[in-house]
């Protein structure tokens, strides 16, 4: 759906990373973990295209005024990387933004008997919090959060509050283990011996590594991808990614916005 959302809050949660809370219509409460929104950053033609962001959380907003009705609200967690995200970070509570969403295919929650291992790299944690919130209702959940430095490790205390056990790794060792988060993931997998499924979002290199780890152990693995998007609804074909059967002779492109952004890792062509 398309709607005008009112910003409820917009604050820097770690250097360069922001969290924005926005109002939403009733139907938005049905948003699934892993879905995303397309945000129109300004009412002008600069920037021109909408910017895609994962849905970090969906909650209920209780307005302060007496007699006001409750309304769904949702959060996005974003990193300032360019013009659009810089402009987003300059917006204030009560400002209005145009939203398209929830869009795309989210995560499948899978069987309750497996342990759920969530892997997030940097701002890749964004679509994983709402997922964790759902998963903890049925299974033990562990989070593996990685980043270059401590500033890239976001919102860990909130995952902990859900009862999620969190492992942190940074490349410079400034928080948690020094190294890649996939090392902790492998250790855990060796311990649970296959009774697990993986959910990952983050830089492509990390996803590629996680998909490889899952494949070697025949563990179900879902990954959430990014792509350059214009429309967000499957019309422009700008956002595609190679599928598992892709080659120059037998092209197989999947549409990230409409068929994803969440894919089963073995649906995708990782070598391309």
């Amino acid at each position: 759906m398309q709607f005008k959302a009112m910003i409820l809050s917009n604050a820097e949660v770690s250097p360069g990373y922001w969290r924005m809370r926005l109002t939403a219509p009733q139907e938005f409460a049905a948003a699934k973990p892993g879905q995303f929104v397309m945000v129109r950053v300004s009412g002008t033609i600069d920037p021109l295209l909408r910017r895609p962001f994962g849905i970090f959380d969906v909650a209920v907003h209780v307005p302060a005024q007496a007699g006001a009705v409750e309304q769904p609200c949702f959060d996005i967690l974003y990193r300032v990387v360019g013009k659009g995200t810089a402009m987003l970070s300059a917006l204030h509570a009560t400002d209005l933004v145009d939203i398209l969403g929830p869009l795309g295919r989210g995560f499948e929650l899978g069987s309750p008997t497996e342990e759920k291992l969530i892997v997030g790299g940097g701002v890749g944690l964004a679509p994983l919090y709402l997922l964790a919130k759902e998963l903890v209702k049925q299974s033990p959940v562990r989070l593996f959060a990685g980043g270059r430095t401590r500033d890239d490790i976001l919102c860990i205390t909130e995952f902990e509050r859900l009862g999620v056990e969190c492992y942190v790794a940074t490349e410079d060792g400034s928080l948690g283990e020094c190294g890649l988060v996939t090392e902790a993931l492998v250790r855990r997998l060796d311990l649970v011996q296959g009774q697990a499924s993986i959910f990952a979002c983050g830089p492509h290199g990390m996803l590629n590594a996680v998909a490889g780890i899952a494949e070697k152990r025949s563990i179900p693995c879902q990954v959430s991808l990014e792509g350059y998007m214009a429309c967000g609804v499957g019309a422009c074909l700008g956002c595609v990614t190679p599928g598992s059967n892709h080659s120059t002779e037998t092209p197989d492109f999947r549409c990230v916005c409409a068929e994803g952004p969440v894919f089963d890792a073995n649906e995708l062509g990782w070598g391309c």
Partner: protein
């Protein structure tokens, strides 16, 4: 009194002059949740080819000031899957659907025109001639008047449906191209397609698009599109569909003053999925406010 928004183009009667442009509106269904398709004049499908096409590697799109570059590479499902999977939806919508198509030889164009001609749900054909002619060393059909004449003549023989030819702006003399298409039997002309451009990532010293170059669209191209519509309208006696950077009703009405009978909205649908519907509504409001009885009275009414 409500102004008369209807227009006639190549024998089609449209409820209003606003269509959606090829490649920016999928096959209609993708946007159905956001737009009332029965409030727009017509919609144009993604460009179709005989065989499915995979398109280019990614990145395929990048934003640049006032516009965007795309190098989708004409990815499409192909004519067979179009008939099997996309045409049934067209049947459910009471708005003319125009099939955009392309080929790599005149024969391919003609074959597609013939196959599309037999689909009752298709109201008209739009030929995209901005494609390389593999039999003539890859020269783009739409940049050589002789090539353009041949391909349009071949399509004309294959269909009795209204035949719209979509012109490329990447030419020195757009009027000569328009004239060649008119001589070959086109019923209408649509212009402009995207302008070839590129974008560079300085730090990586690489082009941003995997294809290096791409088609430039969006508000930044409007002045060029307006100029070309105006030039062609003065020289060629065929109805024109104006395309290029139309973001609002003002833009659309400017194209009509310059000589267009109808317009197509492209990139704007990405920013606002219901842009075409809104533009049609706002045009009507402008006519009412300015006491103009019919949109037809504005066609080519530029004073200069």
């Amino acid at each position: 009194m409500k102004p008369d928004m209807t227009v006639n183009i190549a024998g089609m009667s449209l409820r209003n002059p606003v269509m959606t442009a090829s490649g920016t509106f999928g096959y209609g269904q993708e946007f159905a949740e956001y737009v009332d398709l029965e409030k727009i004049g017509a919609f144009v499908t993604k460009g179709l080819s005989l065989k499915p096409r995979a398109g280019n590697p990614t990145p395929r799109i990048v934003e640049t000031p006032g516009g965007m570059l795309n190098a989708i590479g004409l990815q499409n499902v192909g004519i067979d899957a179009f008939i099997a999977k996309k045409v049934p939806f067209l049947r459910t919508v009471n708005t003319p659907a125009i099939a955009n198509f392309f080929g790599y030889t005149s024969e391919e164009y003609a074959e597609l025109a013939l196959r599309l001609d037999s689909i009752p749900e298709i109201a008209a054909l739009e030929v995209n001639i901005s494609c390389p002619n593999v039999k003539q060393g890859g020269i783009v059909f739409g940049t050589d008047p002789k090539c353009a004449f041949d391909v349009v003549a071949a399509c004309r023989k294959s269909t009795t449906k209204p035949l719209i030819v979509k012109l490329s702006p990447n030419v020195t003399d757009v009027v000569a191209m328009a004239q060649a298409c008119a001589d070959a039997g086109a019923d209408a002309l649509s212009l402009i397609n995207t302008l070839t451009g590129m974008a560079i990532d300085l730090q990586r010293r690489k082009p941003i698009l995997a294809n290096v170059t791409g088609g430039f669209s969006g508000p930044a191209i409007k002045p060029i599109a307006l100029r070309m519509v105006w030039q062609v309208a003065r020289a060629v006696k065929l109805p024109i569909i104006g395309i290029g950077g139309i973001m609002n009703a003002t833009d659309a009405l400017e194209f009509i003053l310059a000589g267009a009978t109808a317009v197509q909205v492209g990139t704007a649908s990405f920013i606002n999925p219901n842009a075409a519907e809104q533009i049609a509504l706002d045009m009507e409001a402008w006519l009412t406010k300015n006491n103009v009885g019919s949109v037809q009275s504005l066609i080519g009414a530029l004073e200069c």
